[in-house]
């Protein structure tokens, strides 16, 4: 069983690859866009999780 952080990173990776090829044409701009999307998804999810931390679980 893979841990949730790894699964989240894998999902972010697939989505970032998808959108970089969907929206960008050149290799260099695809690479830059990939890291932007991947970073935004990972950092955004961690930030959101951190903001939700004080709230009760049930």
């Amino acid at each position: 069983m893979v841990d949730h952080l790894t699964l989240m990173a894998l999902d972010a990776f697939l989505i970032a690859v998808f959108f970089s090829f969907l929206w960008k044409q050149e290799k260099k701009e695809r690479t830059v866009y990939f890291w932007k999307v991947f970073g935004a998804l990972m950092l955004g999810a961690i930030l959101l999780g951190w903001l939700m931390y004080p709230f009760p679980r049930s």
Binding site: D11, L14, F18, Q25, E26
Partner: protein, 132 residues
């Protein structure tokens, strides 16, 4: 060198291309000559779908009284032939007690939504709104 090919007279009608693009991820781009992108899109959608199935995700169908399930069902059916084959062989039933259930759902839904975006991209290429 970026991929670029005009949509010639020998290609299929746009509605047919869009249906094929929905059924098989990347097929629409392949038929339009965007082979690199077709391969990448096929790999991404299929890998996401298989991960979702492996992680005990559910190919969601509409449930009466649950409006959100209708949206989820649209995303699930967006996987095209992958959805129908998986349902036919009994996969994608979802194991709610599995620790990875929600992640499985996430992968299945994102795969379906990505495939639907590919259909729209094929439309844009076919109508000339997108040149590459």
């Amino acid at each position: 060198m970026p991929e670029r090919r005009e949509r010639g007279e020998g290609t299929l009608p746009l509605p047919v291309l869009m249906v094929l693009a929905w059924l098989v991820p990347g097929l629409g781009h392949m038929l339009l000559g965007r082979r690199l992108r077709a391969g990448v899109f096929f790999a991404v959608v299929v890998v996401a779908f298989l991960l979702g199935i492996t992680l005990d995700g559910e190919l969601i169908l509409p449930h009466a009284g649950d409006p959100l399930s209708y949206l989820a069902a649209i995303a699930s059916v967006g996987n095209g032939v992958l959805f129908f084959v998986a349902r036919a062989v009994g996969l994608g039933q979802g194991v709610v007690t599995s620790p990875a259930f929600e992640f499985g759902n996430t992968f299945l839904l994102t795969a379906g939504m990505m495939n639907m975006l590919l259909v729209l991209d094929v439309h844009d290429i076919g109508t000339g709104k997108k040149e590459w």
